[in-house]
Symmetry: C2
Subunit: 218 residues, 2 copies
DNA sequence: CTCGCGTTGGACCGATGGTCCAATCTGACG
DNA sequence: CGTCAGATTGGACCATCGGTCCAACGCGAG
């Protein structure tokens, strides 16, 4: 038997799925994936756990919804009217920047193909490929390839961005990565790759990949 | 105060990092990522938690080591002597098959660029690109692109393979995915993609992507 | 005014990863 | 052959997590 004395008064500003998703994004941006816990949410929204589960299926659902929010914002920015190739490059850049600002999205995208954020990216790409006159299974192959490339890059860059709040830390991270690699395998090829790692630019490299792809489908 | 009565006798067959990694792979293959818990390991190896932490830094370390084990086996199979293009295709296929057999590796690869398995893949690609006469930053761009594509595909296909122990389940999954997509966004482009989803072949699609990249590189 | 039902708060449960330390064994050395 | 220090092992312990459950609450329809 539990004696509940003086229960806290009911909140006046109604909870909603959207409010919860926004709070989740703030938590994720602040502390990364591990920062999103139902407990942290209850504290930030000053409510109880039941209230949250009433609006949201669980943590996985919430992560997917948060990622979708970010990706929606990124893909909506794309201007139409431009030619498909530039549109694809713009779209890719917009996604890259969104992932750079919210590193946890990268990891999340690579985890579950059923989620809305993935569909959103898929569709934006497919529309442009259609504009390029690519159809049938060629379109689905090209779309899948481009999407996979974006997801893979996302996950890799995310790990870097997570650690690079400022430029000095970023350099430290790249140096550590480079020496970890050469230390583990001191091959000429590895040393070569490591040396390029030190002064490489994620954004440029990402776009170089997009261009390779675009060249491959035309 | 703890009264320890009749402690279990010490094991005769020594524990080792390798033995633990092997047990971890078995657990992962059987129950997926969530199946790998320190407790499950202690039970399977009939030991205590301390013994495991003595050989292994933690669950993350173990996951990375397990993935490296699988990737090592896959990349070692690659025959040399063939021309770089076929070598890249062979290598990609070997990795794909390994991921198909151990779906959890796909998710793991997309999570952390410092891990040995990633370096291994990177290096195998870089060696072949060198053979193609690609050097300098072009090589690092191409290598990064190809590796990212592989990681992204890995994660996406992994989610499918996880659910497709047999062909019927696999079809169910694809159907569910297709209708989830069209239900959420009934656009012509989406319907089109969904229809190709139903009878698509992961392996073929993956190789189609590799070929697009190869074409873009040369 | 009242009363049903959509909300809400929080106690509770089982499980996890990691730490810690005492008990145990092994092999080197006297 | 004895002994003892260091490597190895077992498991109690802790904080924390996701998810379930239910009693209390109050808004709005009647």
């Amino acid at each position: 038997m539990t004696v509940t004395s003086a229960r806290a008064p009911r909140r006046r500003d109604a909870l909603s799925r959207q409010r919860i998703v926004e709070a989740a994004i703030e938590l994720l941006d602040a502390d990364g994936e591990s920062g999103l816990t139902v407990r942290a949410l209850t504290s930030r929204l000053s409510t109880g756990r039941g209230a949250i589960y009433h609006h949201v299926a669980g943590v996985d659902d919430l992560l997917a919804a948060a990622a979708d929010d970010v990706i929606r914002a990124a893909t909506e920015r794309t201007a139409d009217g431009t030619d498909p190739t530039t549109a694809i490059r713009d779209l890719s850049l917009a996604i890259f920047d969104a992932l750079d600002a919210h590193p946890w999205v990268g990891t999340q995208l690579a985890r579950e193909p059923l989620q809305p954020a993935v569909l959103r990216i898929w569709k934006s790409i497919a529309v442009q490929l259609q504009g390029l006159g690519i159809d049938g299974s060629a379109r689905s192959d090209a779309g899948a390839a481009l999407a996979s490339y974006i997801f893979g890059s996302a996950a890799q860059f995310a790990a870097g961005a997570r650690r690079s709040s400022d430029e000095a830390k970023r350099q430290n991270y790249l140096d550590a990565l480079a020496s970890a690699w050469t230390e583990r395998d001191d091959d000429q090829v590895v040393r070569d790759a490591a040396s390029h790692l030190r002064d490489h630019d994620d954004r440029k490299q990402f776009m170089a990949g997009i261009d390779i792809f675009l060249k491959g489908i035309t």
